[in-house]
C-alpha cells in the first residue's frame, strides 16, 4: 500500500491562507483574490497617471482597498462553500480561535491604549490573518 503525504503544504497555508490550489475552490479563490489585489493597486495608480482630479484620486485610494477587501471576503465565503467538509471544518476551527483571540486582543489593546494614550492603528487587526493561518496549520497537523 502506498504512503501518500497526509499533509497540506505549510507554505500554502501561511501565504494563501487556504489549503492550496488542488481543489477547484482553491484555484478560484487564488485567481479571484490575485485579480482583486491587482485592481486595488492598479486603479488608483491609473487614476493618477491619467491626471484625474486629486479629490477623485484620493477617494479611489480609500475606496479601492475597502471594496477590494470586501470582494476578497466574498471570494473567501465562496471558497469555504466550495471546499470539502473536512477542510471546511478545519477552516471553521481556525476562524473560531482567531476570532476569540482577536476579540480579547482588541479589548485589551483598546483598554491599554485608552489608559496610556497609545496610538494603535486599526490596521493592526490585519494580524488576525497570520494568526488564523497559524491555527489552521496547527489544526491540520492535529488531524494528520
Amino acid at each position: 500500500m502506498e504512503r501518500e503525504s497526509p499533509r497540506w503544504s505549510a507554505s500554502t497555508i501561511f501565504f494563501l491562507g487556504t489549503f492550496g490550489t488542488e481543489s477547484r475552490a482553491g484555484r478560484l479563490y487564488q485567481n479571484r483574490t490575485l485579480l482583486t489585489l491587482i485592481a486595488v493597486v492598479v486603479v488608483p495608480v491609473l487614476a493618477r497617471l491619467l491626471s484625474m482630479p486629486e479629490p477623485l484620486v484620493s477617494a479611489l485610494r480609500v475606496v479601492a482597498p475597502a471594496l477590494g477587501f470586501a470582494l476578497i471576503g466574498v471570494w473567501w465565503v465562496r471558497y469555504l462553500h466550495g471546499v470539502d467538509e473536512f477542510e471546511r471544518r478545519l477552516h471553521w476551527e481556525a476562524l473560531s480561535v482567531a476570532y476569540a483571540v482577536t476579540i480579547f486582543a482588541a479589548v485589551t489593546l483598546g483598554a491599554l491604549a485608552r489608559e496610556f494614550q497609545w496610538n494603535i492603528s486599526p490596521t493592526t487587526l490585519i494580524l488576525i490573518e497570520p494568526l488564523r493561518a497559524a491555527v489552521l496549520w496547527h489544526k491540520s497537523k492535529q488531524y494528520r
Binding site: 500500500m1 497526509p6 470539502d84 473536512f86 477542510e87 488531524y143
Partner: protein, 65 residues
Amino acid sequence: MNNSLRVLRADKGWSQGELAAVLAVSRQTVNAIETGKYDPSLPLAFAIATAFGLPIESIFRVTEG
C-alpha cells in the same frame, strides 16, 4: 468510530488520491478518515459506501466507550 476504509481501498488497488477523486474530496480528507482522525458526515459516508458497493455498517463501526 473506526472503519475499514484503508483495507477496502487497498483491495480495490486505489490510491488515496484516486478515492478522493471518486468522492470529490481532498486526499487529506481520505487520509484523515482512514486514520480515524475524522468521522465523515452521513452524506460522505453514504458516498463511500456507494463507491465500494457495500452497506455503511460494513465499513464504519461504532467503538464501545
